[in-house]
Amino acid sequence: MLCEDTAILEETLLAIEPLDLHIRRLGDRGLLVPADEVDAIRRTLEQAGTFPRLVGSLPVTDDAPTPDEPVAEEVL
């Protein structure tokens, strides 16, 4: 993930902080993330109103990511 500047990077880190991710900071504006964690990051950022630009495509692997999500209960 490449941010325009350090401020955007800090903002991004703050948004995805609640996720339990394997993120490594690269320099002032780069974050390195394993491919199978990109989807969760993207969804979290979108919920926070940030819509990152996506470039390229993920490498195809046999095991698809299966994030844990609680089963919703019927509430009315």
Binding site: L2, R24, L76
Partner: protein, 754 residues
Amino acid sequence: MKDPSEGLRSSGGPLTQDELANLLERGYADASLRFFARTWKVGEEADVVAEVASQGFANDIDLEALEPTARAVFGLIAERGGRVRGENLRRDLLLRGFGESKATIRNLIVRGWLVALPSPGEHACNLNSVLEQETFLQRDLAVLQSTFERLDALDDDEALDAPAWSEVIVDDRQATTDELELNLLHLCALIRRDPLKLNKDGTPNRRSLARVARGITMPGTYGEIDDDLDLHDAEHFDYLTFLVSLARELQLLSNLDDATCRTDDAALTRFFHAPGDERDRRLLDALQRLRFWNEIDSLRLSRQASRNVDEDHFSQSESTGQPLIGARGFVISVLRRAHFSNWASLDALAQLCTQLDRHYLDRTLSQLPRKPDPDEFIHAVLERTLVWAGILELGESEDGQPLAVLSKRGSRALGLGDDVPSPEPGGCLIVQPNFEVMVFLDNSPVTILHELYRVGRRRKLSDRVATFQLEAESVQRGYALGADADSLIELLNHHGHTPVPDAVAFQLRDWERVHRRLTIHLGGAALRHPDPERFDLICGQLEHDLRESPVELIRLGPRDAFVTDATHPALQRTADAESSLQLDALGPPPRCFYFVDPLVLMIDPYECDVTTRVELDRVANFLEDESSPRSLFFALDPDKIIAHYPDDPLRGICNFLGPRSEGGLPAAQSLRLQSELDSPPSVHLQSDVTVLTFRDLDAAERFRQLSEAPDMIARRLGPTTFAIHTDQVPLLEEIIDELHLHLSDLLFDEPSAD
């Protein structure tokens, strides 16, 4: 080889004297010649029989006295120029409401008023057998030339009656495929923002569904449901279940897990950018394959008497529609074969399905738990599935008989026609300075709607106009899905009645600038090198190699860089040439752990991948004082390990360390980890033990069976080895002496398992 009789056959029209003569010579058997002579009451000579085709015969048809179905037979044959395929004649009679006509057709053949023709290439067609085996429907049936002339000469008043419905009362509002597509787009756009939650039983969570269903149009009604949406109304809930199920079959929605459905944007783009005929074909295919909705329960729901349908019907995990896939396919294939272009009786369509292959439907439906009646199922497919999808339109004859006709898109879906009008060229939208886009649905291509749903939020839908709002969030979301400002502005200008206002164009570009502040490069590779100067040279060379390609090298620091495509050959070449260059990519983790002490390991940070490096911090403490830039030391911390792998700490840490250690996790480390994380392995140390070993197994067994053995043997240590109680050694020596056992100075090996 070419059939010699082929050239003698007419491809259409009534049976002429010449053709009959040729068929009597080469196509019919002698028994058929006698059949004609007997029926037409003429001599058994071929030329005399053939002459009947042009001259007529004594018992020729009394058109006045014909019963209605027989009149319709001749009416249809007259319409088709004197000759028709038996199956098609029967099918058309069914569609026009005459019911089963096989017996009538047979009777007309028996009386000689209709002639069953030999099949191409047939040389001995026996009409008696044809009638007996009832194969006449698989043959061409023709009237004689003389009969055809009489039919042709009838004036309008006497005209034979094969009625097709010309006066049809049609509802103003019919469900259309265009509206179904709009509903699918709308649903998928809302689910994109707010994934649809499913309950444990697979039914859509009503609160979640209410959020994503706002704005849906019920089939055959005007405008959005909006405030009238009531998910306790079984029909609303049923239609939404149908939509969700259809979207899943089209793969526009996919299950994130058992509890959530979300939009697959790539599939959505593929579907709505496909040519119209392909979209129709895929839609029909998906309707046939609906697994999580079924039309029988749906139709029962809409009838007042049976509103109580199991919750299973609404479940997205109970495949209540799956057992009907084959039967739906059968009904659709019958419709395709029926090839009807005009209004047809709905009952006749249902009858056609049951008559063509009644046994198949009986057999298939009887295997279902509720054993639905074939007639009920066919009506449900026609009146619910195909009507909701806009494939069929319903109407009513003047005498109240329900009728149906294929819509233009329905015909195209069935492969029966391609005269679907294209949207009229010219503008279909107006972009207003307040960022609203008004779209005129009647001449708007579906690709425009797809694009507007991608970058905008539909605010309103009136009869034929949809209004979309372009907002910072929606536009940036669209950019994240692949849209860009220049293409969007060009599209809006191209399809707009007026140019995009400057303020809107400026804002669209500005939103793109904001959107580009954070970029996720998918599938790239991170490069690291311990020597900044060497790394500079490597990056310079790589930038040079990548200059002709769209792949970029982005410098992130003196030792870090990122290449946007991990598979580029230049990168592979550089990695091969520079052994110190580290590429971080997914795959088996690198073997980068070196154990130096119990529970203490060393890593070279340039050998570690990102997952290993981050995970290590969660299970170990960094030993800063002992570390150098290229040798980082960590002490595994049992408390951290237990917190990180609460279910099974020992297994968790072994699974993490094992694949990252050369030769696997050392045994000493795993024993120590077991001691720390599980109960310590118990051991007993025994000294002053005498061990007796035999060379062969048989001797050892005999020794064990000695009466003194139980007192002497403390433990058997192997097949041929025994530990002897120290105080029993004198007794053992006595036995060795007494039994003449040979005492060897060498230690024997244990016998092999074989």
